[in-house]
Symmetry: C2
Subunit: 214 residues, 2 copies
DNA sequence: CTTGCAGTGTAACTTATGTAACATTAGAAG
DNA sequence: CTTCTAATGTTACATAAGTTACACTGCAAG
């Protein structure tokens, strides 16, 4: 369980020990379902390794990406669900090989008073998730699809650490809540303007990708 | 301070007493600024009377409505800002005459361990705000403007308890992040289909307003 | 090899929404 | 009353995005 070391800077030693003792270590493979709609949440996940995609579906199963969780981040929506014994409003899927540690809901409360570092972590998580949701709203409400697509590619680049993004046009379309044809069209425009190169299931971001839009 | 009675069912008596003792009672008139961008938040507001509109602006000062806070509700984003000493990411404006009680940030922490009802209230608030933000995202991402406009009018109706909505087309356009002409167009369509009647600064929802769309 | 399919390219068209420009009207202020 | 301004109505047009349809291609399974 050496990935717990990543939390060393975040929590005090006694709390780390409790996390190791009571936390439930889990691994997921790419595509595995980490949380699903309508399920009761019994523990709050802290991601140790890999990336978890958190998204939302509407009535017609159209999805939209909310945000990604990466190392040492956690989903506060799960937290408030736990405490309130509510069903999940979001769906979470492993983007790659994911390791996480699940904190049982009985401990969430207990630690809140016992460990200041835990309370701070929880509050920071709440704040980060709020900001991510606000960014998401801002993006959808104020930005055109071409800008959103560029932001999406940059985020993928940041998370994977690679300039080669592995994704089909279809997947991207789903995550941005639009259709495949539209994404293909916009990607082709980006390729024609020399910012990316398209391959099958892969998009290579070129050096000029960070250049100002338009 | 008799509006505190509204919180009787929510908090235990000892906590109510502390709220009365340490809370800072404030009133706002229609249009008054309750929270602003970039300001440090020093207390968490609990709305006692009236409605507070919480919204967000982009770089170009285009606003978009996030949600409304009404009686006994509170803005959890303020909470996490307080605890983390972060600047506000949202703007809040009084919709009408508003009374609220501000809980100083030193008490937020203290009560979390001391009063279970406080912890539950805070967690419930977090959850409610998350759900509101998710609804907002869903609305913008998956629904056309006509549906969003109808939902907006219904929400206004629910909050005010009246079928006569007082708002200019311009205001509505701002809150839905679109332009006045578009709103006028859609409202006129609704009027032509017999669902509403338009007056100056007023919109009257008719009985058939709840009928299925289209 | 050949078969099949997911992934992609692309054209043609529809529709929702944004934008600019201008006329009209209601009500407030003087 | 007149004057001014915000609010509204309306037209005409531009553009982003959604939709349908179909062709083509790389690749994996048999």
């Amino acid at each position: 369980m050496n990935n717990l070391d990543k939390l060393k800077g975040v929590f005090e030693p006694e709390l780390l020990q409790e996390i190791e003792q009571f936390g439930i270590y889990q691994t997921f493979k790419e595509g595995d379902l980490v949380m699903d709609y309508g399920k009761y949440i019994r523990m709050m996940p802290i991601v140790l390794k890999g990336t978890v995609k958190v998204h939302r579906l509407d009535e017609n199963n159209n999805e939209i990406l909310l945000y990604y969780l990466s190392s040492s981040e956690s989903c506060s929506m799960a937290y408030s669900c736990c405490v309130e014994a509510k069903k999940s409003e979001v769906k979470a899927v492993a983007e790659d090989n994911v390791e996480l540690i699940g904190i049982p809901h009985v401990k969430l409360d207990e630690w809140l008073c016992k460990y200041p570092s835990w309370k701070n972590y929880v509050m920071r998580s709440f704040n980060e998730r709020f900001i991510e949701l606000l960014k998401s709203i801002e993006s959808i409400a104020f930005h055109k699809l071409d800008e959103r697509l560029i932001a999406y590619l940059k985020e993928k680049q940041r998370l994977s650490g690679s300039s080669v993004i592995k994704a089909s046009h279809n997947t991207i379309a789903d995550e941005l809540a639009t259709s495949r044809v539209v994404i293909s069209r916009l990607l082709k425009q980006l390729e024609n303007s020399g910012k990316i190169i398209l391959y099958r299931n892969e998009i290579k971001l070129l050096s000029g990708f960070d250049a100002p839009f338009k």
